[in-house]
Symmetry: C2
Subunit: 182 residues, 2 copies
């Protein structure tokens, strides 16, 4: 659970305790008694295809600066899941995509994240590194830089994607990666 | 965006401003400069089947006390999406389910929620109202209380489910419900 010391409502101290009728510890204000819930965040991403190749970005920011990923980032309040994946692709890779389908729902319970990764088609062979990217390139499947992928969950999703393309199958992957990735 | 007045880190006041390198207003501490992000929450739910019928709960708590829903609730940090759907079904309906597949990913941008609804099979014809439910029953499709469903997103998911069962199709529904539900 993310650390919290003071109440966002009144500024007084909070304590971790299990509220009445609940079964998990929450941060509860010692003064105004407001309960502060922390819940998992959605990371929306897109594996964008163009003539058999996929678009990867080399990260310009920490964590994992210098390593590769498909465009992905925290979903914002006010947008839908596909919209978030399109926005991240535009921001990080300067590319417009049309979402084709949902590829995977991969939970990372130990860090409270859920990766929703979509498959998209580039609308044109147009892309450029956004401010959070050092480089953006189209990769043939056999050229994916497996040793330089930024996050285990991204590597896992890419492996599932490549395996499906090789097999000619197109299924949705729902999995919990807590055990394999720590 | 959820309101916030004081910094959870240092207890001093916060202001809404767009941090450098960002493009959305965030709550930023006037003193320690920490940025507080608010992101959409995942509601995990389960349409649990038993011999052609589905399990619905009558809510005992606000909002929408007295109205019907399939088991669903906020996903917790530390669990996966399917695990969250199973837990909600156990807590609200006293029922053990085996998850069959993901049914829908329905975004509610205006309130910062994403409903992940799974299809499950009851492990046995055993269920009972949990502390958050007044009643739990198995409904034939034609008996679903459409006029007394708690939330529009739940009604939308149930309609999609029933239509698919009638058609004999089993597809994943990804949609943004912002326009239809306000």
């Amino acid at each position: 659970m993310a650390a919290m010391k003071y109440c966002g409502e009144c500024g007084k101290s909070v304590s971790q305790k299990i509220p009445q009728g609940d079964n998990l510890p929450r941060f509860v204000c010692d003064s105004c008694q407001v309960i502060h819930y922390h819940n998992p965040k959605i990371v929306a991403g897109c594996i964008a295809e163009w003539k058999g190749r996929i678009l990867l970005c080399r990260r310009a920011i920490e964590p994992k600066s210098g390593l590769w990923t498909y465009p992905a980032g925290f979903m914002e309040i006010g947008e839908g899941t596909e919209e978030a994946a399109r926005r991240e692709t535009l921001e990080e890779a300067g590319a417009q995509v049309t979402i084709v389908r949902l590829h995977s729902v991969l939970s990372l319970p130990h860090i409270g994240q859920v990766y929703l990764t979509f498959i998209g088609h580039l609308d044109a062979e147009v892309f450029e590194a956004g401010v959070e990217s050092l480089d953006v390139r189209l990769f043939e499947r056999q050229d994916i830089p497996w040793g330089d992928i930024a996050f285990p969950v991204v590597k896992d999703a890419l492996h599932r994607y490549v395996d499906d393309v090789v097999d000619g199958t197109f299924r949705l992957h729902v999995a919990d990666l807590s055990h394999r990735l720590i």
